[in-house]
């Protein structure tokens, strides 16, 4: 933080620098927290100076174009397979940090097997899980994480738990695996939570670089478009419903297979 710049002959301390994201406009909808997550990952890469030592894996879902924004080498996975790609990458490049960004359809539905087994093996990867309880990219269908009674394009009368079961709490599952070293739920609805989320990202990437096991960072997020709400209303619903069902905080701060 000792960076300084000189302007008009006067020296200023740099308190915030624009993250070194690629020069491409993000495609995210207004009010969505996906952009915040990717900007924070970029800030952590910049601050740690690890652009050459980190590989990202993009999912199928709203973060599919993450490789157009975050400024590091990237691979684009098939739907649900990000953790398998990350395993392959991490095993042949053990000195690199490897991270995935995955939504709830990708991670908790079609890719649940890949996710759980990567966590159980304790792959040295950071999994960033954007859970907004809906399939955003395909137009707002029910996800495994959709809340009971939540109306979606494929649960028009609200999620009937007798028909579809209860929402899947993946963080609660993986916290019990020896392979995970850090499991946390964070949000990005206000400045305080954004700072906490950044700390979690820092820790997760640090764990990956230092081969401590799998870090699982769930961002309890929103989806104004999929929820059919204005950004402002979505924030209210986010805080009142999402954070109640998926309580924020660390579920596990130490672990990994020794």
């Amino acid at each position: 933080m000792s960076d300084t710049i000189t302007k008009n002959g006067q020296e200023f301390e740099v308190v915030w620098k624009k993250p070194n994201l690629q020069k491409k406009d993000m495609h995210y909808c207004p009010g969505c927290a996906h952009g915040t997550l990717e900007k924070l990952i970029q800030e952590v890469i910049d601050e740690k100076g690890i652009q050459d030592r980190i590989i990202g894996v993009a999912p199928v879902g709203c973060a599919v174009f993450a490789y157009d924004y975050i400024n590091c080498d990237f691979q684009e996975a098939a739907h649900g397979r990000a953790c398998a790609l990350a395993t392959g990458i991490s095993r042949v490049l053990p000195d690199h940090a490897v991270f995935t960004i995955q939504g709830d359809g990708d991670l908790a539905s079609i890719g649940l097997a890949e996710t759980l087994h990567a966590c159980n093996r304790g792959e040295n990867i950071a999994v960033f899980f954007y859970n907004n309880a809906i399939y955003g990219m395909t137009g707002g269908q029910m996800a495994p994480t959709t809340l009971p009674g939540q109306v979606t394009a494929s649960s028009p009368d609200g999620r009937d738990v007798k028909l579809s079961g209860m929402p899947l709490k993946v963080a609660d599952i993986v916290k019990d695996f020896d392979g995970t070293c850090f499991v946390t739920r964070q949000a990005a609805n206000n400045a305080v939570n954004v700072r906490k989320l950044k700390k979690a990202i820092e820790k997760a990437i640090d764990n990956s670089l230092n081969k401590r096991g799998t870090s699982f960072v769930e961002l309890v997020g929103n989806c104004p478009s999929g929820w059919k709400m204005t950004p402002v209303d979505s924030y209210k619903w986010w805080e009142e419903n999402m954070m109640k069902f998926y309580p924020l905080g660390d579920l596990k701060t130490e672990g990994g297979i020794k």
Binding site: E76, A84, G88, A113
Partner: protein
Amino acid sequence: MAEKYLMKGNEALAEAAIRAGIDGYFGYPITPQSEVLEYFSKWLPRKGIAYVQAESEVSAINMVYGAGGCGKRIMTSTSSPGFSLMQEGVSYIACAQIPCVLVNVQRGGPGLGTIQPSQGDYFQAVKGGGHGDYRLIVLTPNSVQETADMVYKAFDLSEKYLNPVLILSDGALGQMMEAVEFKEDYKKPQFDSTWASNGGVSKRGKPVQITSLFIEPERMEAKNNELQAKYKKIEENEVDYELYHMEDAEVGFIAYGLSSRIAKKAVDLAREQGLKVGLIRPKTVWPFPTKIINEYSKKVKAYLSIEMSVGQMIEDVKLAVECKIPVEHYGKTGGIVLSTDEIIAKAKKMLGK
């Protein structure tokens, strides 16, 4: 002279991969392929080389995608039902142009089928299998020795063309033991991996994006054109086959892999009876030896396509022949071994004898 080993086809395949400088193997057990995985499970961790027994073939092929995308020498192996599971990943890998070696030790299908040898996955191997317009380079060994030799070739071709290469074996070739020698003079060809995602952003000046996603129609079409141009080059340069007694043949057998050994024996036995038959043995089934089959169709009276299936390769033979001469099929399924007597009887009938 190189030392001789008595090995199963599956073991020789794994040993050859280690000698070819494999950087990682990801697989899942399935009969009759499991010896490949078992051999690697013993030797790769001891040598500090990446090895994961994945939770499924779906996961294994995607680990191959990730590790191969880092520019490393990566392999997976499976048998028919497992290869079906891998098709999604294979399509992505083909589009993203990731070099890697895939092995299908074929068993009988469809469905759960049988664990006995088969050649029923020909269509899946050469016509796609996964979605979209893509091709695999498909090598077809017919002995334990050739299985080992083709592993080196498969890695080299996959890196030369940035394309997945499939070694199409079968349950008999995988399980049987034969003498095998490993190349002593093998040198890994120069390989430019600047396209790979391995963290060289500052050196390259930009990040690498390994992807098979091209939303804009023009970019998707350009990608397809790029792939097709590459496939055309492979068709021009990499067709491989063996000719056996074709010089004066009146009936030409066409057979690959295990079937070609039986067909070759049938040629010898038929010639003892004075029947003029010969064999064209594709060593690559994609690219297919279309040209040589077409050329000989001007000399032979008919072709007999011999496969351990109900007749899949015969379609490519017919395309090559362009309706000039009759093409017939002889095959068995279920793992029942082809019979030289039946092949000769069929040849006699085709010759009107």
